[in-house]
């Protein structure tokens, strides 16, 4: 039968080996304290990554390029006029834009593959005042893997995605996520 010393030896060995492995596999990032994340130079439609760049025509005849907005917090929202949950959250997004545009917030309400007429009717119905990029062929939606609508990305002034969400957002949730990307003060 194994005695006490044998077991305590096993515990000590496990402690030494475990600590050595933890030490060897530390995250090699300076100032790594905090929560998450991956290399900020990689691009992917996911929190912790650089937001994929795109350039799209807007409903009002202009163009918008995401990388040109560097230095400003950006809320990217993929939507379509036929999507019920998009309709329910759109007033909250417009209100957030009105409340925070003076702090530099940019909202890009990217319409997914619809005609200008349908989009114009929707914009008029909800009184939207932020830019509406037109993803006519769905290329940007595919890059952002926006398979369900609505899908939103909260991008900080450095171009890093800080949060994503698929589904309708309440005003409180939008505000809580904007707190993470809008510089304080």
């Amino acid at each position: 039968m194994m005695d006490k010393r044998y077991w305590y030896g096993i515990v000590a060995l496990a402690a030494i080996l475990g600590t050595a492995w933890m030490f060897a596999s530390r995250v090699p990032v300076p100032g790594a304290a905090g929560n998450t994340t991956s290399s900020l130079s990689e691009t992917a439609p996911r929190a912790g990554f650089l937001a994929p760049d795109f350039e799209l025509p807007t409903l009002d005849g202009g163009t918008v390029q995401l990388s040109a907005l560097r230095g400003q917090p950006v809320l990217i929202n993929f939507w379509a006029s036929w999507c019920g949950p998009c309709r329910s959250e759109m007033p909250h997004i417009q209100a957030a834009y009105e409340n925070h545009s003076h702090r530099g917030l940019v909202v890009l309400g990217i319409d997914q593959m619809e005609s200008s007429d349908s989009v114009s009717r929707f914009v008029k119905e909800f009184g939207l005042t932020f830019p509406i990029p037109m993803d006519s062929d769905g290329t940007v939606s595919a890059v952002y893997q926006a398979r369900g609508l609505p899908t939103s990305f909260f991008v900080d002034p450095d171009g890093i995605i800080r949060a994503t969400f698929t589904g309708p957002m309440s005003s409180g949730f939008i505000e809580s996520k904007l707190e993470e990307i809008i510089p304080q003060g």
């Binding site: 596999s25 589904g167 707190e179």
Partner: protein
């Protein structure tokens, strides 16, 4: 590799990870309930405690999130009642849910080691579903590697950490299943869960690219896993020492 975080059924978009977790929770609860009888724990107690824990956990998760972001909610409290998966604080939800489930079980005066043995295989099964949910959403992704079994994810070839963790959970469950009929003392299955799954996560978390990082670059999950392993070994050792000295 293509992830499927959302399944489109007509106009409805179903969140696949949430669906997988719900199925996993239900199957785990069913497994725990089936095993309860064999361990002398009232079958209904486990089921009811599971649902009480889930209900209070969800309420706690939402209220916890609102408390953490009070300035965002104070002007419009309607979002507190939003029927969606948004705005949930996982850690607070888990604490409240576990607390509520435990309090509920307290009234049944259940033996703690027996209860932990009932829960151990169910926890391993649920952890397997958590890995599947991560595989579906692309969460818990691995670091970049050129190993032949790497998967293409988030723009790079990465360690398939979700699959590593799935195998760890399934392996743990298989081991626990074998020991159900051969366990040397009450509480052993739970200690074995801590030991095997803790060892696996201690090793595997080194390959995660999205770690919960502590001061000094130490990985939080590894610290918790090592504590689980040491606690398990120490308690097993105490049991062995007690019995060898008789």
């Amino acid at each position: 590799m293509t992830m499927f975080p959302v399944i489109n059924v007509g106009p409805a978009a179903i969140q696949a990870p949430g669906l997988i977790l719900m199925v996993g929770f239900w199957l785990s609860l069913s497994l725990a309930s089936r095993r309860a009888k064999a361990e002398g724990v009232p079958e209904n107690a486990v089921y009811n405690a599971g649902f009480v824990g889930m209900l209070f956990g969800l309420i706690g998760a939402r209220l916890g999130y609102v408390a953490q972001h009070w300035s965002a909610y104070q002007n419009d409290l309607s979002g507190v009642l939003a029927l969606s998966t948004e705005a949930l604080s996982t850690e607070i939800g888990l604490m409240v849910g576990l607390g509520a489930g435990t309090l509920y079980l307290y009234r049944y005066r259940v033996s703690v080691p027996a209860l932990l043995d009932v829960l151990a295989p169910a926890i391993a099964l649920f952890l397997a579903f958590v890995s599947l949910a991560n595989l579906s959403s692309g969460s818990g992704f691995g670091s970049i590697t050129d190993l032949p079994w790497a998967i293409e994810l988030w723009g790079a070839r990465r360690h398939p950490t979700q699959i590593y963790e799935l195998l760890a959970a399934v392996g743990t469950l298989a081991m626990l299943w074998w020991f159900i009929r051969h366990k040397p003392f009450a509480g052993f299955l739970f200690l074995l869960l801590l030991l095997i799954y803790g060892s696996a996560r201690l090793f595997l978390d080194a390959f995660r690219a999205d770690p919960w990082t502590l001061t000094g670059g130490f990985r939080g999950v590894q610290v918790v896993s090592l504590a689980m392993v040491l606690l398990s070994l120490w308690l097993m050792g105490r049991h062995v020492a007690k019995h060898s000295s008789v």
